[in-house]
């Protein structure tokens, strides 16, 4: 069936023979500005919510502390082998590659724009994936991650799989990136214009309750989620 026939069928059921113009629509929320705005309160709530979902979070005072902490997390998790990471300004200045390589975790290079799936194959073999985030939502312990920077279609280097395929996901977020509700994120994404090809809201490790309603962690996505807050 073609588009016109499909739309015509819908129209005739709605009692119209042609287009009806642009509908007037204003999205609205019962409590539009719910929750605190103080970054400290947001971070605290985020950490509490993430803990409920079996995720781990850490606070560091400066960017310099990030790389050693990442190494420590990997060691404590008993990880071995290569590590994949986003090629993104948030991570590039943290000295991750040097620290990780020195600690025995070679960093998987990102292959931008190559045909086929070299990236996916490499990321799949990684012991851990390191990403940044665009937002962190305090109410639900959620990280929001675009496959490229939202509002900036010409800034690739992230992709979809680094936070997904490896068994451990480590994310680095800045205190300023915290908001309280998902509603605030949707509003901001809307204002930013161009959406990345994928935006993921991730709240804690992958889970399932499909076997006798018994909770299990790490079904298809990462079984461990570590969030480092600068």
């Amino acid at each position: 069936m073609n588009q016109q026939a499909f739309i015509n069928r819908v129209r005739s059921r709605l009692g119209r023979s042609g287009a009806d113009g642009i509908p007037q629509w204003t999205p609205s929320l019962p409590i539009p500005d719910a929750g605190p705005t103080d970054p400290e309160a947001l971070v605290e709530r985020y950490q509490a919510e993430l803990a409920k979902l079996s995720g781990e979070s850490y606070r560091v005072a400066s960017e310099a502390e990030v790389a050693p902490l990442v190494v420590r997390i990997l060691k404590e998790a008993g990880a071995s082998g290569p590590v994949a990471r986003w090629d993104d300004p948030v991570l590039n200045g943290l000295g991750l590659d040097e620290a990780l390589t020195a600690a025995g975790y070679p960093v998987t290079p990102l292959r931008h724009g190559e045909p086929g799936r070299p990236q996916v194959e490499l990321v799949e073999k990684a012991a851990a994936g390191i990403t940044g985030a665009d937002f962190a939502i305090a109410e639900t312990g959620t990280l929001v991650m675009g496959s490229s920077r939202p509002g900036d279609a010409a800034a690739p280097g992230r992709g979809r799989t680094v936070s997904l395929l490896p068994p451990i996901h480590i994310a680095v977020v800045q205190k300023e990136q915290f908001v309280y509700t998902a509603a605030q994120v949707f509003r901001q994404l809307r204002q930013m214009g161009v959406l990345p090809s994928q935006v993921i809201f991730a709240s804690g490790p992958s889970r399932s309750a499909d076997i006798e309603n018994d909770l299990s962690i790490g079904v298809h996505g990462p079984g461990q989620v570590h969030v480092i807050i600068i």
Binding site: V10, P30, E121, G159, S197, G204, E212, V219, H220
Partner: protein, 482 residues
């Protein structure tokens, strides 16, 4: 397929099934109630975007508006999907979905398909059609994988394998593994992860459904916990999304309301582990993601509801809350319904999508208690639609003619006071031989003969009162006059 009565009786005799369904349904219902109480409390302190009732009202407003302008939003969504590099297809029915999918498969010379959970694909029985063409189709949601191995259909909209015990699951996984597996959840989960990860990496095409589709951006939204929805849409070189035309919402901001309702109502979670928003295929320069994105908009009978007295049933967000509270579903589970949409919502939409099709009897499989309406995050008046459907079935001549005649006779008799009173007297006398006195002095009929046995097979009947209300009223009136 055996008739509804036979299916129900089979389910009722299956104690293990009933136990498993009730256990999980109870669990989901308890968690839902707790999370909604929490939401209301948070909203009262200004710490959530609204109470359950607030969100329900707002969600209805969104869906009512979208349905009223569905032609506009479908066109807008299609334009946006194309603009972000996707391809749009239009499917009037199941056959269209199968044909469109097969064309893509053929062009890509694909052999292996991986799927994330999609009720729309179940609705059009896509797996069977593709498997018949020699394509390997693997379900990747843990629950769907289990029922695929069992060659069954989902028994619940959200928890497909609600009726399977861990022993049964271990046996099926063991057969695939070629070795015996222990029945603990971590072992079974690890086996599924490893097996399905290989399937993901080898798949030529990933097929998903959609929970919402944002018209202003053409964004496909998927709500999942396991991550298989992310893998399906990120790893294979082609992503096909089958989207019921009822999934549209106007703007990104509208998602806040619906996302506030769906996970809470479905599994009692504030938010699912993953909420996935897909706008087009991999962009130039991006390191991963599918090269092709296809969106198939599906009608398959949905226009039957549009503009009709049943239109609000198109607001359903497939959370399954009405199943978990339904006294019928809780006793017979999903398969007895026969349709892939079970429970109250299934009994409403299955006949509507198919112009009654095989589902004329389904609106009878309900107690009309209204628990479904109360639980529904969209406030759909399910119990009222069930009654309307019964009336429609009679009017359209689809109902069982013998039963219809009987009900008409009943109606005529009960409208006539003389006949009604006579029937009460005859009933009282007729029941006498079957009434027993219990030790506590009350009287009860445990077994009645003939057609009445259908009632007493599963419950007791109190005897008709020695003096009916009418008789007592007549006496009272006389006394009052004295």
């Amino acid at each position: 397929m055996p008739d509804l009565k036979t299916r129900i009786n089979t389910a009722l005799r299956d104690e293990r099934l009933r136990g498993a369904v009730r256990y999980t349904a109870d669990n989901l219902r308890t968690k839902r109630n707790a999370i909604l109480a929490d939401l209301n409390e948070q909203a009262a302190q200004g710490m959530a975007i609204g109470t359950f009732d607030d969100l329900r009202k707002q969600a209805r407003r969104i869906k009512e508006h979208t349905l009223k302008h569905l032609d506009y939003y479908l066109e807008q969504a299609a334009d946006q999907i194309r603009q972000s590099g996707g391809t749009v297809h239009w499917a009037a029915d199941s056959a269209d979905v199968v044909r469109i999918t097969e064309e893509i498969i053929e062009r890509r010379q694909a052999k292996k398909v991986i799927k994330s959970k999609s009720m729309a694909s179940e609705e059009v029985a896509l797996n069977h059609a593709l498997e018949a063409k020699g394509i390997e189709v693997v379900e990747s949601d843990l629950g769907e994988y289990i029922i695929q191995l069992a060659h069954e259909t989902p028994a619940h909209i959200v928890i497909p394998a609600i009726h399977k015990t861990r022993q049964q699951i271990a046996d099926m996984f063991g057969e695939v593994a070629g070795r015996q597996l222990t029945t603990d959840t971590p072992t079974l989960t690890r086996f599924a992860r490893e097996t399905l990860r290989q399937k993901f990496m080898a798949a030529d095409i990933g097929i998903s459904g959609a929970n919402f589709l944002v018209a202003e951006t053409g964004t496909i939204c998927l709500v999942t916990n396991e991550g298989n929805g992310r893998l399906t849409t990120s790893v294979p070189p082609v992503h096909i999304a089958i989207v019921g035309m009822d999934k549209l919402v106007p703007t990104l901001e509208d998602l806040a309301v619906l996302l506030g309702l769906l996970p809470r109502s479905a599994t009692g979670q504030k938010i699912t582990t993953y909420f996935n928003m897909i706008t087009g295929p991999r962009r130039p320069g991006e390191p991963d993601g599918p090269e092709e994105l296809h969106v198939i908009f599906l009608d398959n009978g949905r226009t039957n509801l549009l503009g009709s007295k049943y239109e609000e049933a198109l607001m359903c967000i497939r959370c399954g809350a009405c199943l978990n509270v339904c006294p019928v579903y809780r006793n017979i589970g999903g398969h007895a319904y026969g349709s892939i949409y079970p429970g109250p919502i299934g009994s409403v939409i299955s006949p509507l999508l198919t112009d009654f099709g095989e589902w004329t009897d389904l609106p009878q499989a309900t107690s009309l208690c209204g628990a479904c309406h109360e639980a529904c995050p969209m406030g759909i008046h399910l119990h009222e639609h069930l009654v309307r459907l019964r009336m429609d079935a009679v009017e359209k001549g689809k109902a069982d003619p013998g039963f219809t005649r009987l009900m008409k006779l009943w109606m005529t008799a009960w409208r006539n006071p003389t006949v009604y009173r006579m029937a009460a007297k005859i009933g009282r006398l007729g029941m006498r031989p079957f009434v027993k006195k219990r030790p506590d002095g009350t009287e009860v009929a445990e077994r009645l003969p003939g057609p009445f046995a259908a009632w007493t097979n599963t419950r007791n009947v109190p005897p008709i009162a020695k003096r009916t209300f009418h008789e007592r009223w007549a006496e009272l009136e006389k006394e009052a006059q004295r």
